[in-house]
Each structure stands twice: as C-alpha cells, then as structure tokens.
Symmetry: C2
C-alpha cells in the first residue's frame, strides 16, 4: 500500500451485498466506476465529486440479475461517462468489450479479460501495475457466482477462471462483485488453494454447481431487463 | 497499492457494522488483529490460519459498547496473543498502552496515539510506512463516534482528532471501527475538508454532539461489562 497513481475505493451496498469500485488516476483525475448500484448512486457521486474525479467509464462486469445498475443514472450527471459492457453480454452500452481490450483511465491501464461462465458476457478487469483484478461474479472470496441463470455454464466458468484469473501471479489481489460474509478481498494464491469449488476437478465443479439449487434472485424480474438497457445506448 | 511488507485485510460484521482489521508482516508472518468481533472469531481465525499468520496482538482501540470483543476467544486459539488496551481504558488486558508507545509486528511498526474523547482510553494506530491509520471511534468516514457514554467528552475528542489525526499527512488513509453507509476508508485530507462535524469550530462541534440524542447501543448492558474483562488479564 505504498503510494501509487491509483485512487481506489471499495463501496458496499448492504441490501444486495454488492461491491462497487471507484478507480481514479491521481494525476489526471479521470476515473471509472465498476458495478454501481442504482440505490447508491447519490452516495457514490458525492464521493466522486469530493475526490474531484471525472467519471469517464461506468462499467459492469456483466448484466446483473440481483441489483439494478446505476450506470444510466450516473450518465445523467456525467454525460461524457461511457457505459461499458462485454460485447456478447446482450445488454446495451456505449462501449462493447472484447477479450484483451484495454481501457485507459488517465495513466491507468485496465486489461479486460473475457471470463464467461456465470454469464456469456462476463469480464474481469486487471490492473497489472497495481497487481489487482476485479472479478465480478467469476470468483468470490472462497466462492464463485452461480451458473444456473441466463446463458450460464459451469464448465465454461471453470475454464475461464483457471485460464484467465488463476493464471495471474499469486499475489494479485482479487476484488469480487459480491460478498456475503464480510470479506473484502482475496488473492490469486489463496483461491488456488482454499476456494472450496474451484480447486476441484472440472467434473466435480460441475457437479457442485448443479446441486446448489439456489432460489432465484429476488429482484431478477426487475433488475435483469433494466440492466439490459441501463447502459442506455442511443 | 504497490507491494509492501504488509498483509492487510478489512473484515466487516454486518450485524454491528464493525470493521475488524488484520495486519500481518509478509516476512515474519507475525500479525495483529484490531477490533475483533466475538461472533466473527471463527471466520477471522480461519483466515489467519489460511494466510499462515501468527497472532501476537489482539487490540481494541477502546472498550466498545456496541459489540463484544473477540479478544478473549482468540487468546484460547493463540495463547501467546497478547490482548492490548489503552492504559486508562478501565478494561483488563495483557498490555496497556500509553501515548507514543510502539507495537512491533514483525517488521511493521505501529505507533499508538492516545486519542480520548469518545472514551477516556481511545487509541489510534498509525503505520507510517504504509501511510495508514486505524481511528477506532474517533474519526468515521464523514463522521465520528458519539460522546455521550462512559467518560465521553466532545471537546476532548475534537482536540484529539485535530492534534493527533488531522496532523498526519493529507494522503494518509484512515480506517474506522464502524461505517453505516458502505464506505470503507477515507483520508486525512478528505476529513479535514468534508467531515460535517469535525470541520466546525470546537464550540459548534460540542453543540452538534450534545444534540444527537442517540438511542443507547442495543447491546451495551452485555457488551460493555464483557469488554472490560475480555482481554482476560491473569
């Protein structure tokens, strides 16, 4: 935690257990927000303004089903802020990502890695200089996102995580989109050893995921269709 | 967030909105925990073990009234872990702090600053090398701890914060013991400009604090007497 060029904030929505991330460039004050939550936009924009940041990207790792994104609302306050989604996410956005694309936020370089499985269009964002990655619902602290909803595939998730996330250096910190136990961060090294699902064989993983029998997210009927449009591409 | 010698984790108890902090030395694996919560000890010790850390200090910034400390429970698993409290906190502990004391955790040096006001025995812990401080209930993100309970004094809190915390360099990150809005961290610079209470004059601050009229913490009758003993000094 020595000084770097990165302004970094982790924010939490306790209602849906969603982490929102604010990443800014100390030098240029350009910034991006990942996974903004509609109900928290006022809080987040107050902080953005207090820190003197200029939001240029409103990013979702994927089209969420459990909360409504704040991207559309944010674009009203920051008209030059581009909404960003994976190219094959099915949702509308100003900018569509393909595997290997890079987002530039001032002096920060954000590598976009396509990590499908939880959904078809999931992305993980890596800042190599700061040795951190934002994994969305691909990897949680000692867990992972469900694979029984829209365009989910457990086998695909397993291969995404192992080839695109666990292949990062062990000390890289991983910041998930959700946590339900008060954990805020993990590392590649920890999850490669202690993740109770992703350390199994692919067949065992598929078996585990197919037996979860989770209830549907309580807001899916509202949030999913809203999130398909919340990038509000004109 | 460039690599340093510090292993750092922020953990959250959603029931009492308490942040617990785990600080470890990458080289020696010695570690300290700040504000452990009794109900979260199993989670915290699992993480401590997974990270291969050896807890040598269980620290509370003060005798809390809103949650029961996990220090006593932790000492059962780590018998060499010393409980730590301020010398004039009124609580029992293995080690009592005075202003200016330093705790050594492997290669980490933790400066202990006496910051009374919320209680008589409150301490703030500063890691200069990592430019971070743990402020307990002295400074919250855009707030501060109440000053109407045991041995509280608003005027004393104001002077503690201004002389011992706001005197740190502006970029130092401040990690509080609590947050109720999903904010995880702030900086000295931000609070000196945006804290709605502590930016006022001392007289205005005293007035604001005396008009809060907060309910008593719901667990005060259990947690306060327990916390006076939870350091379990023999």
């Amino acid at each position: 935690m020595v000084k770097s060029n990165l302004i970094f904030r982790q924010l939490f929505d306790s209602d849906t257990s969603t982490y929102t991330y604010l990443l800014g460039c100390e030098k240029t004050k350009d910034a991006m927000i990942i996974e903004p939550v509609l109900e928290c936009v006022a809080r987040d924009l107050k902080l953005v303004n207090e820190l003197g940041l200029n939001l240029i990207y409103g990013v979702n790792t994927h089209v969420h089903t459990d909360h409504t994104t704040g991207t559309g609302q944010i674009k009203k306050s920051f008209p030059n802020c581009k909404s960003v989604l994976g190219a094959n996410s099915g949702g509308k956005a100003d900018l569509y990502l393909n595997d290997g694309d890079k987002l530039l936020v001032g002096d920060l370089t954000v590598e976009c890695r396509h990590t499908p499985g939880h959904t078809l269009g999931c992305f993980t964002f890596v800042l190599h200089e700061d040795r951190i990655a934002f994994t969305g619902d691909a990897v949680f602290v000692r867990g992972c996102g469900r694979t029984d909803l829209h365009h989910s595939c457990a086998k695909t998730l397993y291969h995404s995580v192992h080839s695109k996330i666990f292949s990062l250096p062990s000390d890289y910190k991983l910041y998930p989109a959700h946590d339900y136990k008060g954990m805020s961060v993990t590392t590649v090294g920890e999850e490669k050893v202690y993740n109770p699902r992703l350390t199994k064989t692919v067949d065992e993983f598929v078996q585990i995921m197919s037996n979860l029998k989770l209830d549907l997210p309580r807001r899916i009927d509202i949030s999913y269709p809203a999130n398909l449009m919340c990038g509000i591409q004109d």
